[in-house]
Symmetry: C2
Subunit: 220 residues, 2 copies
C-alpha cells in the first residue's frame, strides 16, 4: 500500500511540475508580448489559461483521492497538504502572467513600457521563467538544497525591482504618470510571481524534511 | 466520533474567525495610520504581526490533528482542506495590512496620500474591514447565501479601485510620479485584501455545499 501511495504522489507531483512549466511558458510569452507589443502572443497567453485551470482541477482531484483513499498519516499527510498549497501558488503564478499579457493587450499597438525600463523587464522575465523551472525541478527532485536555493534567485528579483523604483522615482522620469502606473503594477506582478516560486521551494522543503528553510539552514 | 470531529472542526473555525478579525483590525488601523500619517499606529500594526503568525500556526496544527487523528472522508475532508486554504488567505490579508502600514511609516511625517484621494482610501478601508468581518461571520455561520454575498462587496471595491485609476490618469494629477506609485500600490493592496475575503466566501461555500458560487447560484 505504501508503494501505491508513493506512485499516486508521484503522479500528483508530475502534474504540479507540468503546471510550473505552463506558468513559466506563460510568463515568457507574456514578457515577449510586453516588450514587443505583440498582440497575437498576448492573446495566446490570455486564451491559454484554460489549460492551467484543467491541470489545477486534476491536481486537486488527485490530492483528494490520495487523502480519502489512502488515509495517510504524518509525513505522507504533510506531503499532500503541501501539494495542495503548491496548486494555489502555481495558479497564482499563471494569473500573474495573465495580468502581464493583459497590460500588453490594453496598450497595443503602443508599447506599455518606456524604452529605458525594457532591460529591467527583460531580466525580470528571464528570472521569473528560470524560477518557475527551478520550482518544477525541485518538485520533481524533492532536493532540500535546491529548494532552499530558490531564495537566492528571489534576492536577484528583489534587487531588480528596487532598481526599477529608483528609475521611476528619478526626477528625470519623462514618461508621465500613466506609464509609471503601468510600470509599478508590472513590477509588482513579476515580484509576486517570484515570491510564489520561493513559497513552492519552502513547501517542498517541508514536504521532504518537515523543516522551514530557517530550521534547515541552521542544522546543515 | 463524528461529534468529536465536529467539535474539533468548530475549534478550528473559531481560530479562523479570530484570524479574520485580526486582519480586519490591522487593516482598520493601517488605514488610519495612512490617512493621518500616524507613526505610532503604523508601528503598532507592524509589531502586531506576531499574533497572526501564532494563530496561523495554531490553525494549521489543529487542521493537521483533525486530518491525522480522525481520518475523515469526503465532506469532512473537504472542510479541513478548505480551512487550510483559508489560513493562507487570512495570512495574506494580514500581510497586505502590514504593507499599508509600512507605506505610512515610510512617508512619515509626510502623508503618503494626496488630499484628493483620501476619500477613496477611507472608503476602501471601510469596505476591506467590512469584508473581513463578513468573512468571519461566514466562517462561523457556514451560511451559503452569505458566503456568495461577499462577491457584492468586492464589486464595490473594484468600482472604487477603477475610479481611483481615473483620478491617477487624469492630466490634472499634480502630485508627481512618486505619489502616483504609492497610490497605485496601495490601491492594489486593498483590492487584493478584498479578493482574499471573496476567496474565503468561495471556500466556505465549498465546505458547506461542495459547490462553486456559479454552481450554487445556478441551482438556487
Amino acid at each position: 500500500m505504501r508503494t501505491a501511495y508513493h506512485e499516486q504522489l508521484d503522479t500528483l507531483n508530475l502534474i504540479l511540475g507540468e503546471m510550473c512549466e505552463l506558468a513559466g511558458t506563460a510568463m515568457a510569452r507574456a514578457t515577449q508580448a510586453l516588450l514587443q507589443a505583440d498582440l497575437a502572443i498576448a492573446e495566446e497567453v490570455i486564451s491559454g489559461t484554460d489549460k492551467m485551470t484543467e491541470l489545477s482541477a486534476r491536481a486537486e482531484e488527485q490530492a483528494f483521492a490520495l487523502l480519502a483513499l489512502q488515509a495517510p498519516v504524518a509525513g505522507d499527510l504533510r506531503g499532500i497538504v503541501s501539494a495542495m498549497q503548491i496548486v494555489g501558488d502555481v495558479d497564482r503564478m499563471g494569473a500573474l502572467a495573465l495580468h502581464v499579457a493583459k497590460v500588453a493587450r490594453r496598450r497595443h499597438p503602443a508599447k506599455a513600457l518606456p524604452e529605458e525600463v525594457n532591460g529591467y523587464f527583460a531580466e525580470m522575465g528571464r528570472l521569473a521563467v528560470q524560477m518557475s523551472e527551478n520550482a518544477r525541478d525541485v518538485i520533481r527532485s524533492q532536493n532540500p538544497d535546491e529548494a532552499v536555493r530558490l531564495q537566492d534567485d528571489d534576492d536577484a528579483m528583489d534587487d531588480l525591482h528596487r532598481h526599477l523604483f529608483t528609475v521611476l522615482m528619478d526626477r528625470d522620469w519623462s514618461h508621465g504618470v500613466a506609464a509609471a502606473v503601468d510600470v509599478t503594477l508590472l513590477g509588482r506582478y513579476y515580484e509576486r510571481f517570484a515570491d510564489h516560486a520561493v513559497l513552492i521551494g519552502r513547501r517542498v522543503l517541508f514536504q521532504a524534511t518537515g523543516k522551514t528553510p530557517e530550521q534547515f539552514l541552521e542544522v546543515s
